[in-house]
């Protein structure tokens, strides 16, 4: 099954206001007791691979905890989870903490979803629990969630929006999980967010949907230098020019130069890209040539053998999501003269060009369809919880942004 294909609701939705964690856990357990009872006769059958006697199989992947700010955000998350299709976690728990509310402490909604597995005729099911937690209980979310997790499965914590890094509840949930997933383009204060994320990684694996969006850019960039004769240019890179998308000025808030509608920190992707290259090639920061203004900055970095100019600048467009990269241009000098390695995005595709070794414009077109949030999340959920490449890039991105905020030398 592919992303976004319809699923069927396997059991009627269970919804209870003013309920308890115990009641929610009991209902979750009863869902599978019923399933096992229905298949009791199957034990007499011949041994088979694939549970032909079972009406459904439960996905055996992971627990996912999601924390959102309100019911509307919870609905959006549920929609994204539906789009995950077969890559869905075994149990998703969506938390809506409302500490300021005095109403009954816990409202719960449980639904079960099943879908066909592409490779076989059986169906795989998962559960989705939405909990609105109020009053004092909202300050102790780990106690609410812990009894509801499926034992012995890894647990990921997805925090859409701007995570409250300083809130003890954030720490509680991060401690419960093996893997924290955020979207750094949603950070209201990007530098602080990147730095705090760097410290979180000591307790938990960290993933970032922005990093996932960079996947194709990284692949295309690496491909330039898979070719041995072009790899010669790599140590001598002298310029990296990155353009990223921002929303047209008319729709942007005038008072904040880093903020665009729907994307609080559009520069995040460009910074992580630059951080990735910088850590792979051993670049160090050297001087600030143009400090950050209107989303643009210019740094001089110290490469292994050359000084490198890093120029990051926004371009207003409504053709792609704010924050997406629009172009990357790498310049170098080799024995055969200057070389350029270019990826230029336009819409759902990109033009990749190499000008090196006296060959002009070795061009090709590649697909670059923007992945949906569900695809990004799905990819993060299936990867290793510890991603050293990202962690290095994250640290470097924070350093680059700090440098960009310094006065020009």
């Amino acid at each position: 099954m592919r992303f976004g294909e319809a699923e069927s609701l396997a059991t009627p939705m269970w919804e209870e206001r003013d309920t308890s964690v115990h009641a929610v856990a009991a209902h979750l357990a009863s869902l599978w007791d019923a399933s096992v009872a229905a298949s009791a006769d199957a034990a007499d059958a011949e041994p088979v691979v694939g549970e032909k006697g079972m009406p459904h199989a439960r996905a055996s992947v992971l627990n996912l905890i999601v924390t959102v700010v309100d019911g509307e955000a919870a609905d959006r998350v549920v929609h994204t989870l539906m789009d995950l299709g077969v890559r869905h976690p075994s149990r998703a728990i969506v938390l809506v903490p409302q500490p300021g509310s005095d109403a009954h402490p816990i409202d719960a909604r449980i639904s079960t979803h099943c879908h066909d597995v592409a490779t076989g005729g059986d169906r795989v099911c998962y559960e989705e629990v939405v909990l609105t937690v109020r009053g004092d209980a909202a300050a102790h979310l780990s106690g609410v969630v812990a009894p509801l997790l499926i034992h012995d499965l890894p647990t990921s914590v997805w925090w859409p929006g701007d995570p409250p890094f300083a809130d003890p509840v954030f720490d509680q949930l991060v401690e419960m999980g093996d893997h924290l997933i955020v979207d750094s383009s949603d950070f209201r204060e990007l530098l602080d967010g990147l730095r705090r994320l760097s410290s979180v990684r000591r307790r938990s694996g960290v993933g970032d949907l922005v990093w996932e969006r960079l996947r194709w850019w990284q692949e295309l960039t690496a491909q330039f230098f898979d070719t041995p004769r072009f790899r010669r240019y790599l140590p001598n890179l002298s310029r990296l020019h990155i353009r990223y998308a921002t929303a047209p000025a008319a729709s942007r808030r005038a008072e904040d130069h880093e903020v665009a509608p729907g994307v609080a920190a559009p520069m995040s992707q460009a910074l992580l890209y630059a951080g990735w290259i910088a850590t792979r090639l051993g670049w160090r920061r050297h001087r600030t040539l143009e400090p950050l203004a209107d989303g643009r900055f210019h740094l001089r970095l110290e490469g292994r053998y050359e000084m490198v100019d890093l120029l990051v600048e926004p371009t207003e467009t409504d053709t792609v999501r704010p924050g997406e990269l629009l172009s990357v241009r790498l310049a170098s000098v080799g024995e055969a003269g200057a070389a350029q390695f270019i990826v230029d995005r336009d819409g759902d595709g990109a033009t990749v060009a190499t000008n090196a070794d006296g060959m002009t414009a070795l061009l090709r077109r590649v697909a670059m369809e923007p992945p949906s949030e569900a695809e990004l999340l799905s990819s993060q959920l299936t990867m290793d919880v510890v991603d050293p490449l990202y962690e290095d890039a994250l640290r470097a991105a924070a350093i680059l942004l700090a440098s960009a905020r310094e006065a020009a030398a």
Binding site: T119, G120, Q223, R232, L234, G282, R284, Y305
Partner: protein, 543 residues
């Protein structure tokens, strides 16, 4: 102002001196930007020459596989395809033909226009007879020109998408035109790069013909240049099995004669000969399935851990397994093999006519459409453990699996409670259709009494990962371009497989190997196949 902050160093490691590159040239080092990325490998710039490019294999498998590999980002911009065939086609005709094939057969379709336009610029057509020396001379010139214009660095991959009887002719023509040698040994043209050749099964007809084919190939190519495709090995099976066995501490200690009672390998098809009557009637199930898929699955299952997960180590270990399988005498063939042929019956709700009534099949054909074998591996690990292999056409379900039956518990502790025998544990590794692993074990039925029933502990790749696996051809083509022959069969493996099977074919042909049995389409083979196990107190699984 130069920044002096403690966090100035973004790479987290350091050198203060900055010598210019010396010693190892940058191009000889690994690409630092490739490190840690999801796509850990990438084809080198190369030209793939498809000999017999207008055939069915190109349409159904090669063109879609190349397109999907490109979409996945595994092909470099320099990658070039040259179709080489007799048919009178223009370059545009050939490109249109490939486009049509991809749109019909690819798992990613329709083709994206912009991607195709870019890919199509690297597709050429070379018209010529495959036995015409002049066509190869022209081909050599074309490839040199491509190396210059597109930067393919002298790397060439020849895919022989033709019937095996044409292999010797093509291979010799490549040699005469100077196209078979790797760059350093080429007489003319590009002096750098590699040359590889991919051939399809069947790799011979019997031991003698396999040796002849290997000899003919070896006269022209070094063994490391030859990639013999068994698409079964291009599935995820080999890696999955290796990870399951050698990536877990739990299973390898019990993977031997002390704990395992027997092993069953089933490769079952629901289809009949599907219009390939003439080919199949000369081939039969033993040659078509057991010689390659059956024995390869057994070898991967039974091999010792390789020193490293590298091609030669893997193939060495597989060969050791095959060498442990001793060829049978005629009497052993009669005792340990069953051959069958289907007669009319019903499969998946459809009536199937008898094999002998299929088009292009001889009405008195003795060709087997079903085989059941009992093999043994004379090794320290497997001595005394029977390996049962069965394969057949028009069986009730399409399934490939390896099932391990473990030895029973040494004591029947629960006999006094009325439980005389607990079923033995079974571990079933399913290769297709829904790849997964099932462990069957006994559990107490809840309640006051003591009843034991077998229950399933089930893992399915689909439920846990659910990512699209690449088609086998995508994996194998990329492997060949990268230069990783792990999933390809080596010459000595092919010959050893024939050494095992030749005595069976001979004994069957002479009548000493037992009669041909008949079975109804839609059944699990002839009763004699059941008797092969029943006389040793075992039964076939019904997967």
């Amino acid at each position: 102002m130069a920044t002096r902050a403690a966090d100035a160093d973004m790479a987290g490691e350091r050198r203060r001196t900055r010598p210019r590159p010396g010693g190892t040239a940058p191009e000889a080092r690994p690409n630092p930007l490739r490190e840690g990325l999801r796509l850990e490998r990438m084809a080198e710039p190369c030209t793939m020459i498809i000999c017999g490019a207008t055939g069915d294999l190109t349409d159904r498998k090669l063109a879609p596989a190349l397109y999907n590999t490109l979409l996945g980002g595994f092909l470099p911009p320099e990658f070039t395809v040259v179709g080489f065939a007799r048919r009178e086609l223009s370059e545009k005709d050939f490109r249109d033909h490939l486009l049509e094939s991809i749109n019909e057969h690819s798992r990613n379709r329709p083709v994206k226009d912009a991607i195709w336009e870019s890919f199509a610029r690297g597709i050429e057509y070379h018209r010529g007879d495959l036995d015409d020396a002049a066509a190869y001379v022209e081909l050599a010139k074309r490839l040199d020109r491509i190396d210059r214009d597109r930067g393919t660095a002298g790397n060439r991959l020849f895919y022989l998408a033709v019937p095996p009887n044409l292999y010797p002719e093509i291979v010799n023509q490549l040699d005469r035109a100077g196209l078979a040698a790797p760059g350093a040994r080429r007489r003319t043209g590009s002096k750098r790069g590699w040359t590889r050749v991919i051939i399809e099964k069947p790799f011979g007809w019997d031991l003698a013909s396999a040796r002849t084919l290997n000899h003919e190939l070896a006269e022209v190519f070094d063994e490391e240049q030859i990639y013999r495709i068994d698409h079964y090995l291009g599935k995820e099976t080999v890696q999955n099995m290796a990870v399951f066995r050698f990536g877990n501490g739990l299973f390898e200690p019990i993977w031997n004669r002390r704990y395992i009672d027997s092993v069953q390998i089933t490769v079952a098809e629901t289809v009949g000969v599907e219009g390939r009557g003439e080919f199949y009637d000369q081939t039969g199930a033993l040659r078509d399935i057991v010689q390659n898929h059956g024995l390869q699955l057994m070898a991967v299952f039974a091999m010792d851990p390789p020193v490293e997960f590298h091609a030669e180590d893997l193939r060495d270990e597989k060969l050791k397994v095959l060498r442990g399988v001793k060829p049978m005498s005629p009497a052993e063939v009669a005792a340990n093999t069953v051959r069958g042929q289907y007669v009319s019956g019903w499969v998946e709700g459809e009536r199937i006519s008898s094999y002998r009534d299929e088009p292009e099949v001889r009405p008195d054909s003795e060709t087997e459409t079903f085989v059941a074998l009992k093999l043994g591996i004379d090794s320290w690990r497997w001595a005394g453990v029977p390996f049962y292999i069965r394969t057949g056409k028009t069986l009730p379900s399409r399934v490939t699996e390896i099932a391990v039956q473990f030895k029973r518990a040494p004591l029947t502790l629960f006999a006094r409670a009325g439980v005389s025998q607990v079923e033995p544990n079974v571990l079933a590794i399913r290769v297709q259709p829904d790849e997964g692993i099932l462990l069957r074990f006994g559990a107490k039925v809840p309640g006051q009494g003591l009843q034991i029933r077998s229950v399933n502990m089930d893992f399915r790749y689909g439920a846990s990962f659910a990512v699209d696996s690449p088609d086998a051809y995508e994996t194998l083509l990329l492997d060949a371009m990268v230069g990783d022959p792990s999933l390809f069969t080596r010459d000595d493996e092919v010959e050893r497989a024939w050494e095992i099977l030749d005595p069976i074919l001979t004994a069957w042909a002479s009548g000493e190997g037992g009669p041909l049995h008949f079975y109804a389409a839609g059944s699990w083979g002839p009763p004699a196949a059941d008797e092969l196990l029943e006389r040793e107190g075992r039964t076939w699984r019904k997967p």
